[in-house]
């Protein structure tokens, strides 16, 4: 197990290194940088001198390899530099908004699992009946309806039904839980639908696989209640493969949040990312991409290690 763990941890290094290299050079393929956007954005006449000075101040006039070295050293020491737009440390910009986005993500996960487990189970147990078909339409709807539009629909229905819209200012959970939840439950629901759909499909198919195993037949032959077979024997084993999907989708929630935060006007990680892209804020883009990738790699690692704990076949392979 130790050897497997070490191997698996070492495997994350090339991936993270690759991300760091890729994002750095990708942003510098095409000439044109933040200074142009910042100073010439409004169409104002700015002398070349001013632009060169600003470039120098931001360190953009250094040779590419020196910039690259600075970036790589920064990544290794967890110092992601200073935002080229707001002039504040990238880490600070991110941590300011992390709480909100993380909370929405966790709420979305709770909502998704609450619906996905019963849905997936019912569909699997009623395979190829109208219940299964309905569930199929519901889940394909989940991966088809854009989360941001679903969010707009939620706002529209809230407005139509109660003539009320969720508050715009963020209240932390420990200050006022009610205000916090009434604001964040809606974006969580809109990104949660897709999450729920993906998870329910996974649970359905893995439950179907498990139900044809020998030990289920044995349990039936012993005369165990069908309900008990499903909850104790089948579902427990079926949830293991589903964990992969659940955790990977969790890291990919940021993708949904990028767009959905815009709809609900939430000042979270997603909105920060979109802002940094529209402003060509290289340092901020680099920093955020690095963190998103690191988070994915980390969750992937944890899942693989957990798998090895639960399933000895993996660590001896």
């Amino acid at each position: 197990m130790l050897r497997y763990t070490i191997n698996r941890v070492l495997l994350t290094i090339p991936t993270l290194l690759g991300v760091a290299v890729l994002v750095f050079f990708m942003l510098r393929i095409i000439p044109g940088d933040i200074v142009e956007v910042k100073l010439r954005g409004d169409g104002g006449a700015v002398t070349q001198e001013t632009i060169d000075m600003e470039r120098h101040r931001l360190g953009l006039d250094k040779p590419l390899m020196v910039q690259f070295e600075d970036w790589m050293v920064g990544v290794a020491t967890l110092n992601l530099g200073i935002s080229m737009w707001t002039e504040r440390p990238v880490m600070e910009e991110i941590s300011l908004r992390l709480e909100l986005s993380l909370e929405v993500a966790i709420l979305a996960t709770i909502i998704a699992l609450l619906f996905a487990i019963p849905l997936g189970t019912t569909a699997a147990l009623n395979r190829d009946t109208w219940i299964d078909y309905l569930m199929r339409i519901f889940t394909i709807g989940g991966i088809s309806i854009p989360a941001f539009w679903f969010g707009m629909l939620i706002m529209l229905s809230l407005l139509a039904a109660f003539n009320w819209l969720p508050p715009i200012t963020f209240t932390p959970l420990y200050v006022d839980p009610v205000a916090n939840i009434t604001q964040l439950i809606w974006p969580a629901a809109s990104v949660g639908y897709r999450y729920c759909a993906v998870t329910a499909r996974m649970i359905r198919s893995s439950l179907l696989e498990v139900m044809s195993e020998d030990y289920i037949r044995t349990a039936r032959a012993k005369g165990v209640y069908e309900k008990l077979i499903i909850s104790r024997h089948a579902l427990r084993n079926a949830l293991l493969p589903a964990i992969t999907v659940i955790s990977l989708e969790f890291t990919f929630l940021i993708g949904g949040l990028v767009v959905t935060e815009q709809v609900f006007n939430l000042n979270g990680i997603g909105q920060l990312f979109v802002q940094s892209v529209t402003r060509n804020d290289f340092t901020l883009i680099q920093g955020m991409v690095m963190l998103i990738a690191a988070f994915y790699v980390f969750v992937n690692l944890v899942v693989d290690l957990l798998y090895a704990v639960f399933d000895p076949r993996i660590r001896y392979a």
Partner: protein, 299 residues
């Protein structure tokens, strides 16, 4: 099923030979329904000029924010432009970008996947490490980074860089699945035979291995058309995809559309329905195609 079971009647025992399309439509009613939606969309996209009742760019200040009526089936937007016409033209944008980016991403991904499985060893490791890097991002995040990096490049009114931005995140996802399928092809005797005959690597990859992974390739291609349409709509919504005044569904939901929740909900409703329906149709079609071509195959 062509094998006659003992208890079936004579009429059933000797079915007419059907073409693959007829067989697909019979076996997969949901797939057939989604195929119809796709055809309608393609028709609207190709013949937009003839189908749409108004010019999608025509500004009409006399009928700003008009609710749906017989004149304007889906109402008008803040410039008095007919939403129904914009939806019809928008299907052209969605299909062109959705199809080309999925095609480019899936094709390059498939070739890389096959090459990875065929060469194995160090080349396989290198390709897989690069794919791992690309896989560490959600589709929309990677597409946004590429948009930030490349900017805009218009050719015939189509943003080539937007297509590239959506194709890149698709690439590693297809490569991974096709590689897995290609591994089982590589051990086939005919591949060994081709090598023994001295064929070039390129010939073996394209002529001998590629035709045998067409099933997963086609399934991924359709499934990713759906994802690409979704990505295009999201990017356009964020103002980083298709630009005004081009008619695009995501764009119709952005900007001032959100200010009209109270006065003009149709501005939000119809474009969203169009996106959802299109993505839904391609997803369902891909799903049915998978069941039809290869029931064991999982995406």
């Amino acid at each position: 099923m062509t094998i006659a079971l003992p208890h079936t009647t004579v009429a059933e025992a000797a079915p007419r030979p059907r073409g693959p399309i007829a067989e697909f439509l019979r076996q997969q009613p949901l797939g057939a329904a989604s195929f119809v939606i796709i055809c309608v969309m393609m028709f609207a996209g190709i013949f937009s000029e003839w189908v749409s009742p108004y010019d999608p760019l025509a500004i009409d200040f006399a009928s700003i924010l008009a609710p749906p009526s017989w004149d304007h089936w889906c109402g008008t937007d803040a410039y008095g432009r007919d939403i129904c016409s914009r939806l019809i033209y928008g299907s052209r944008t969605a299909l062109v970008i959705g199809f080309t980016s999925s095609f480019i991403g899936s094709s390059i991904g498939a070739i890389l996947g096959i090459a990875s499985a065929y060469f194995g060893g160090r080349i396989d490791t290198i390709i897989q490490r690069v794919m791992d890097v690309l896989l560490a991002f959600p589709i929309i995040v990677l597409a946004l980074v590429v948009v930030a990096a490349l900017g805009r490049l218009l050719v015939w009114g189509i943003d080539i860089n937007l297509i590239v931005a959506i194709a890149i995140p698709i690439l590693p996802r297809v490569a991974r699945v096709v590689r897995a399928a290609a591994f089982s092809v590589r051990v086939m005797p005919y591949v060994d035979a081709a090598r023994a005959a001295g064929y070039s690597h390129a010939r073996i990859i394209f002529r001998h291995m590629a035709p045998n992974v067409v099933a997963p390739y086609l399934i991924m291609l359709t499934a990713f058309i759906a994802q690409a349409i979704l990505a295009e709509a999201s990017l356009s919504f964020l103002g980083l995809g298709v630009q005004e005044p081009t008619a695009a569904w995501g764009l119709m939901l952005s900007g001032n559309a959100s200010d009209f929740y109270r006065q003009a909900p149709w501005m939000i409703l119809f474009p969203g329905v169009a996106i959802s329906l299109a993505v839904f149709a391609f997803n369902l079609f891909g799903d049915s195609l998978r069941d039809f071509l290869d029931p064991r195959f999982k995406v």
